[in-house]
């Protein structure tokens, strides 16, 4: 990259935040796309989503690099420091969200030829809740809104309940119909991925609160 003059720190920080926003939007796309590919049993779409995951990896790398550079060159303090450190932590959560999405896409690829099972409805329901959590967490992050981040408290419990339910019902389904085992077992994995996604989104919300207010709060 050709840089002729040094860009002032706060401009750098703003453009970094913009990149994090881009990464967040991409992650949200990938999260949604992965479940869509699963529900529609669309292998090609799953492959497209996996491709997008590579873009996210690259963004994560670039953002981390930029954070290190800004820390080294400007020794920021107070909210600037909190923002940079939070970004470094958050991009790991964003990356995990993308990784779980990729895992779901892999399930699509392995199961798209199989007969649908009833657990798919539950996955769709669970995804609705997880999608909501991820969306709120990312919106709070991008807008730097700690109040919005706090609204996530408790939402994760519903996801956990659904996760337990899917395991129980999945086992029943597999007992009743041995031909459904391959798909159902994979869907149980997907439910675990979704449950973890909600946790990572909650981490992002908690870190957003710290970034803006300087107060540490754990969101469950």
């Amino acid at each position: 990259m050709e840089v002729t003059t040094r860009i002032p720190f706060h401009k750098e920080l703003e453009s970094l935040k913009k990149t994090v926003e881009d990464m967040s939007k991409l992650v949200l796309d990938v999260v949604r796309g992965s479940v869509r590919s699963l529900i529609n049993q669309d292998e090609n779409f799953a492959l497209q989503i996996i491709k997008k995951g590579e873009e996210i990896d690259l963004l994560e790398f670039n953002i981390e690099h930029k954070c290190m550079e800004l820390l080294a060159l400007y020794q920021p303090v107070a909210s600037d420091l909190r923002t940079l450190v939070t970004i470094i932590k958050i991009i790991a959560d964003l990356d995990r969200l993308a990784d779980y999405s990729e895992d779901i896409c892999q399930v699509t690829i392995h199961t798209h030829h199989l007969k649908k099972v009833r657990e798919l409805d539950k996955i769709l329901l669970m995804h609705g809740k997880v999608d909501n959590i991820v969306r709120i967490a990312l919106k709070a992050l991008i807008e730097g809104d700690p109040e919005l981040a706090k609204t996530l408290s408790g939402l994760d419990d519903e996801v956990d309940e659904l996760f337990v339910k899917i395991i129980g019902e999945g086992i029943e389904t597999m007992k009743e119909d041995p031909s459904s085992v391959q798909f159902t077992a994979n869907l149980i994995l997907v439910s675990k991925y979704l449950e973890r996604m909600a946790d990572h989104a909650c981490n992002i919300a908690g870190r957003t609160i710290y970034m803006v207010t300087g107060k540490r709060k754990k969101i469950h």
């Binding site: 720190f9 706060h10 020794q75 920021p76 303090v77 107070a78 909210s79 600037d80 420091l81 909190r82 408290s153 300087g214 107060k215 540490r216 709060k217 754990k218 469950h220």
Partner: protein
């Protein structure tokens, strides 16, 4: 880091303590668990954190210019306190109030009290020379006397009446050792002070201040004329000095304040905006003005 271990186990929906609070706990912890070396210092150590200097309702003027406005601060003993703020905010004036260095400026006027161990140094019967002996000062530019290294160090003790040759030699060695200069100059004590490098000259000035056995050392931008290596030496020295002395340092350099001090006061237009533990001030400042200043969004 230690701190991480001390993080409380997060329970659901309870607010975690800020790092600042944890740091403060850690500080208390350190106080109780003195290392063997520290506890050997005995009585001296027991005075730790007793407010050695207390500034009460200090106002000052240069002519009509109201330089310092209602300053109230306590400086803790045997620790480093930094005063930061933009140029012209009154940092140096404030520092100079602490050992009556402004007395000689004709248009200077002040009200309020500066209590050193409970006694106001502006009381009528105060011996100003004694005050300046207790509260030494180091300036922005190294200002050794145009004399030898030995004469620079012994100037103060001689003025205060010390004549015993052995004692004088003791003071000379001790002061230079405390200022981390002994190793570099012990074989050329009768060299001219100006033959030393800038950083060495500054340490010589610190040694000269130490020679009269002060309790408090005021430093006004002590590193601003020095290169990074000499600055690092002075900063290490400040840390060592803070084990014995109360150190108050004025600096434009926020990173320096962050590196060397335990407490930081932010002064803006003659008003103390925020006085906080240094790590709190630089991680989660409480005042908007502080945030704006230290992140460079000022003005």
């Amino acid at each position: 880091m230690l701190v991480v271990k001390e993080l409380p186990i997060p329970s659901q929906k309870t607010e975690l303590k800020g790092f600042s609070a944890i740091f403060n706990e850690k500080r208390d912890f350190e106080k109780i668990n003195l290392t063997s070396e520290e506890s050997m210092r005995g009585d001296e150590e027991s005075k730790i954190d007793a407010p050695q200097i207390e500034v009460k309702d200090l106002n000052s003027w240069f002519g009509d210019n109201h330089v310092l406005q209602n300053v109230n601060l306590e400086f803790k003993a045997r620790t480093v306190t930094a005063i930061i703020g933009p140029s012209g905010c009154g940092k140096s004036t404030f520092l100079r109030c602490l050992n009556r260095m402004n007395d000689i400026i004709p248009e200077f006027r002040m009200t309020g009290k500066v209590l050193v161990d409970g006694k106001n140094i502006y009381d009528d019967n105060t011996d100003v020379v004694k005050i300046r002996k207790r509260i030494g000062m180091v300036f922005q530019k190294p200002n050794p006397f145009p004399k030898t290294i030995r004469e620079n160090i012994l100037f103060g003790p001689l003025i205060h009446g010390l004549r015993d040759r052995n004692k004088l030699d003791e003071v000379l060695e001790k002061s230079l050792k405390d200022a981390a200069l002994w190793k570099e100059v012990h074989d050329r004590l009768d060299d001219y002070a100006f033959d030393l490098s800038g950083g060495q000259q500054q340490r010589l000035c610190i040694a000269r201040a130490l020679a009269v056995e002060p309790e408090v050392i005021l430093m006004d931008e002590p590193c601003s004329a020095l290169d990074p290596a000499a600055t690092a030496k002075i900063e290490d020295l400040i840390y060592e000095l803070s084990k014995k002395y109360t150190v108050i340092i004025v600096t434009h350099n926020m990173q320096q304040a962050a590196r060397v001090s335990r407490w930081t006061a932010f002064l803006l237009n003659g008003v103390i905006i925020e006085y906080n533990a240094t790590e709190v001030l630089f991680e989660t400042p409480e005042k908007r003005e502080t945030e704006d200043y230290i992140t460079g969004r000022f003005g």
